[in-house]
């Protein structure tokens, strides 16, 4: 019986090729959208779950308040891991991680490596990163042991066996390769090319609560223990705060535990890479479902519309004894067959657009992923669901109805007309919503991109500064300044795009203390970054002398600059602040107040910041270029670098690019959103196109008569588009408030954001009307020009 159904279904599709084609393409595009978004979501969701002990691993984050501001960070001191492991029986092991770009050399090969981790010896037993060579328990159990990935083994050693070979790290330390790991998978928050033993670090010799530079993971004995452990930690840290740190009043310090599998999607605190906000996944899921629904709606609409022509067939079948059930099954099998074909086409489409989607979404999906049995089963399930969603309504309508009536006058569409109209409205609500959301997202991103941050970030080259470079810092800096095309050179601990150094600042008079971000810098930071001084002056010659590293650590005196937020947090106007004594470890005077600039992401307000001169802490050099010929300036910089620095290659970044990188997540979402709103609109138009076609067929007689009565082509177009345009207008009325609410909600997440402008709604409305109208015209114009006599003949 089923075979019979399928055979007839196939013939029917062949008979109505055009209709089948439109349906097929529509469904295929919808399913493709679902597949792509599905892959994306699955990838995000699978993050870190591949570790066998994932359920028992927790990340420890630091929460503290040393003044009046709550601070939370994923970074912790060296003490947290070992101390908790010793003290609390709930823990089985700990792993501390430090990510630190290093220059590696083997024989004549030398590269700067960004994905260099230091990790405790339990790293390969707590996490399930597979080792191809080496014993997971011992590969990192002594200083200067190093595990490298397969591709790095190839990069440095070619076909030679790297085990036991040594690699020079950071110019002076010899590490011995003790293991080879598989390349880290891309759905891991911990990605590495090299893992050195944590004990190789000087910092590992002393356990400290402060100097938080490390990610700490604990392996619990039992995943249920997390709450007990959390309570114990809170209690213990209260003691520590009181006894060891002498915290008083509201000040406190504690640690929070986050299950490893929740970090990537739910944590606000970024580790080595930005987390994803799970809300975006929900939004994308919704988008995928909506696109699929639109495709199903097209099917439903088309088959009911098209069924008019099949009344005779169904009538005859009923006369021959087919029951309602048989007719129903017949139509469902037709839907199922078409959906199956659509799935095939969708997989083809997906493979075609995959490289492009990867780029858009920042993923690396391989086409063979689509051919895995898991996906196959999922698609089969999806087909059944889609076939039922799309096929049930037409099947019910067509299988119902009295034979005599069907044979005489076909199906009555009064009921289904309003349903069809409702479905068109639905499609356009989604499309208009997507247009508006996309425009607002793109606007906000462009706002971010072009936002005046309060410092200059264009044409600023960032060069790394390490201990060896620091020894000849001024020499190198001066050499760079002399280079043609260089306007200014300055240095600081980190880039102004994201200042992470958290600290406390107290006043001498009044003994006030605030939590603050701090940026150690050299004497040229103000002019290099074009910071605006609102009161006071730039660092003076005597400030520079007081902070000269040559005086020796204990004799250095700091000079401070505050931003406006810091001055006001201390209760001063910018003018009042000048000359006041403040202390961050050591006392010094406030030389200037600089205008607030954005040193964190635009999701956050500008907080207090202190800049102090300490060249010993400089970690990055900023070279501001003035010339037009960036390439030749860079070549000059490289030449100077190579003359003076021989322990690491010349590698640079642009400040602006680093800034843009902070909004990767948003940019990807925007890309994905744009792409899928185009898909949604195309699908909605496809549906409209097909429905207009059927409307034209149904109304061909009427149109013929009207033309004979003198109607022009324009009259006819107005006539047929009127109904549809009305529906789009209704859709606009529904979509505008919905999208307004949604985008306002999204913008709330940015402290600095655009105002939603009314023209966005107007433009989206006009655009959707125009698209709908053009779609209809494309279809209707043929009929409108058609010789009316022919329309009437076919009656």
């Amino acid at each position: 019986m089923i075979r019979n159904y399928l055979k007839i279904a196939l013939r029917n599709l062949q008979k109505n090729k055009r209709y089948a084609f439109i349906n097929l393409i529509g469904l295929a595009v919808g399913i493709m959208g679902c597949l792509l978004i599905g892959l994306y979501i699955w990838h995000e969701w699978s993050y870190d779950r591949f570790h066998e002990k994932a359920d028992r691993i927790v990340r420890v984050t630091w929460e503290f308040n040393f003044g009046d501001v709550l601070n939370e960070t994923a970074l912790t001191g060296t003490r947290v891991g070992p101390e908790f492991n010793r003290r609390f029986p709930e823990t089985e092991a700990f792993v501390r991680l430090l990510k630190y770009p290093r220059v590696l050399a083997v024989a004549d090969k030398m590269f700067e490596e960004k994905n260099f981790l230091y990790a405790d010896s339990a790293f390969f037993t707590v996490f399930s990163f597979p080792l191809l060579e080496g014993n997971p328990a011992t590969v990192l159990d002594a200083p200067h042991k190093l595990v490298i990935t397969q591709s790095m083994a190839k990069k440095y050693f070619g076909s030679q066996n790297p085990i036991g070979e040594s690699i020079t790290v950071g110019g002076d330390k010899e590490f011995v390769v003790s293991g080879i790991a598989a390349d880290a998978s891309d759905n891991s928050q911990i990605k590495f090319d090299f893992v050195g033993s944590f004990t190789s670090l000087n910092a590992s010799k002393e356990e400290k609560w402060s100097e938080a530079n490390y990610l700490t993971y604990l392996l619990l004995r039992d995943e249920e223990a997390i709450e007990t452990l959390q309570a114990k930690i809170t209690a213990y840290m209260q003691e520590v705060g009181k006894d060891e740190m002498q915290l008083t009043g509201n000040s406190y310090t504690t640690y929070q535990l986050e299950p490893l599998t929740k970090v990537h999607l739910y944590s606000q605190l970024d580790g080595f890479e930005p987390n994803t906000n799970v809300v975006y996944l929900y939004v994308l899921t919704a988008v995928a479902l909506l696109i699929l629904l639109i495709a199903c709606v097209n099917y439903t609409n088309l088959s009911t519309a098209q069924s008019a022509g099949r009344s005779a067939e169904i009538g005859m079948r009923k006369v021959m004894g087919a029951g309602r059930r048989e007719i129903f099954l017949q139509f469902i099998s037709e839907a199922f067959l078409l959906v199956l074909m659509a799935v095939g086409v969708a997989v083809g489409f997906t493979i075609l657009v995959l490289p492009w989607f990867n780029q858009l979404a920042g993923k690396e999906f391989q086409p063979d992923l689509l051919l895995s049995p898991f996906i196959f089963l999922m698609l089969l399930g999806l087909s059944v669901v889609v076939a039922f969603i799309a096929g049930t309504y037409p099947a019910v309508v067509l299988s119902g109805g009295k034979v005599s009536k069907i044979l005489k006058s076909g199906f009555s569409f009064t009921g289904s007309t309003s349903l069809r109209k409702g479905l068109i409205v639905f499609q356009f609500v989604v499309s208009i919503f997507m247009i508006i959301a996309t425009v607002v997202i793109l606007q906000q991103l462009s706002f971010i991109k072009n936002k005046d941050l309060g410092y200059s970030r264009e044409q600023v080259v960032v060069l790394p500064v390490d201990a060896q470079i620091r020894e000849q810092y001024d020499l190198l800096k001066n050499a760079l300044r002399q280079a043609p095309g260089v306007a200014e050179v300055g240095g600081a601990y980190e880039e102004p795009t994201h200042i992470g150094w958290g600290d406390g600042l107290s006043t001498t008079e009044g003994n006030k203390r605030i939590t603050i971000n701090a940026l150690p810098a050299d004497e040229h930071i103000v002019e290099t970054l074009d910071l605006e001084i609102v009161a006071g002056s730039n660092f003076t010659r005597s400030d520079i002398q007081l902070a000269d590293p040559a005086r020796g650590g204990d004799n250095i005196t700091y000079t401070y600059m505050l931003n406006e937020a810091a001055a006001s947090a201390l209760g001063w106007t910018p003018e009042e602040a000048i000359g006041k004594k403040v202390a961050k470890g050591r006392e010094g005077i406030v030389r200037a107040v600089v205008k607030d600039f954005h040193f964190r992401s635009l999701h956050e307000p500008i907080g207090p910041l202190v800049i102090f001169m300490d060249k010993r802490l400089v970690g990055a050099m900023f070279v501001k270029l003035s010339g037009r010929d960036i390439a030749s300036s860079l070549a000059q910089l490289e030449k100077i670098w190579e003359q003076r620095v021989n322990h690491r290659p010349f590698e640079y970044q642009f400040l602006d690019e680093n800034y843009q990188a902070m909004y990767k997540a948003e940019q990807r979402i925007a890309g994905v959103f744009t792409a899928f709103s185009v898909v949604a609109i195309l699908l909605a138009c496809l549906g409209l196109f097909a429905l207009t076609a059927f409307a034209m067929v149904r109304r061909s007689k009427e149109i013929g008569i009207r033309k004979i009565l003198g109607a022009s082509v324009q009259d006819i177009l107005a006539l047929v588009s009127k109904d549809f345009v009305q529906l789009v207008l209704i859709a606009i009325l529904i979509a505008i408030p919905l999208s307004f609410l949604a985008v306002s909600q999204w913008l709330e997440g940015f402290t600095y954001r655009i105002e939603i402008e009314w023209w966005v709604f107007l433009a989206a409305s006009v655009l959707s009307l125009l698209i709908a109208f053009l779609t209809i015209c494309l279809q209707a114009i043929k009929t409108a020009y058609h010789n009316p006599v022919k329309n009437l003949r076919s009656e």
Binding site: G704, D715, N787, L792
Partner: protein, 221 residues
């Protein structure tokens, strides 16, 4: 009024032309009442449609009121058509979703007649043909004869000089048919409307003042 010269019409079926009209030449004077007869498939409808500018011949020329129809621009032809020609069909071809009133009004809409004027014109017609009482009914609520009457009224509303009727009585019983024929005769005599009708009935053909026979696409005199 109508001068058809050497009209040919053919369709390419299976790459060979099938001739529908073969060298038809015909002159119809203003005020004539012409009946075209002939067996089914002889090309009557085709000829009528060409006269009504709904269709184009494959070859030949057509002068209507002194104008060379097929050398006119589409727009001018349309104007000519709107101004002078009214059509009546065997299947009435009323618009099902419009009332009698609205059906009659439709041609005026397309001619851009102002609302007040339209009202007056339609009202006049309803009066004159005594169908005021039916004006709010839909076609499906009328008998065939009444529907055809509405069809004729609709053709007359724009005061055409020529009425082209393709088997206007084909779907009507003889009494209804006769009423329509009498109406045509009256229009022809009293108002000088030129009428060309296609009919299968000798009796109805006799209402006109001239009859031509069409056979295999050729006029038989």
């Amino acid at each position: 009024m109508i001068q058809l010269q050497n009209i040919f019409k053919w369709y390419n079926t299976a790459n060979r032309p099938t001739f529908i009209l073969k060298d038809v030449s015909l002159t119809i004077d203003e005020g004539a009442f012409l009946s075209i007869m002939g067996p089914s498939g002889s090309g009557k409808t085709t000829l009528l449609n060409i006269m009504g500018m709904l269709d184009q011949p494959s070859e030949g020329s057509y002068h209507f009121m002194g104008q060379d129809v097929f050398n006119l621009k589409e727009k001018q032809r349309k104007e000519l058509y709107k101004q002078y020609i009214g059509f009546v069909f065997q299947a009435y071809h009323l618009l099902d979703e419009l009332t009698v009133y609205e059906n009659i009004e439709t041609p005026l809409l397309y001619q851009g007649v102002k609302s007040a004027e339209r009202k007056a014109m339609v009202g006049d017609m309803l009066d004159r043909f005594r169908i005021v009482g039916k004006k709010d009914l839909f076609p499906s609520q009328l008998s065939g004869g009444q529907q055809q009457l509405v069809g004729v009224v609709r053709a007359l509303i724009s005061k055409p000089k020529l009425i082209l009727a393709d088997e206007p009585t084909g779907n009507l019983n003889s009494t209804q048919g006769e009423e329509i024929m009498q109406l045509f005769q009256q229009l022809n005599k009293e108002e000088g409307v030129t009428i060309v009708q296609v009919t299968h009935s000798e009796k109805n053909a006799a209402f006109g003042n001239r009859i031509i026979q069409l056979l295999d696409g050729q006029v038989q005199d």
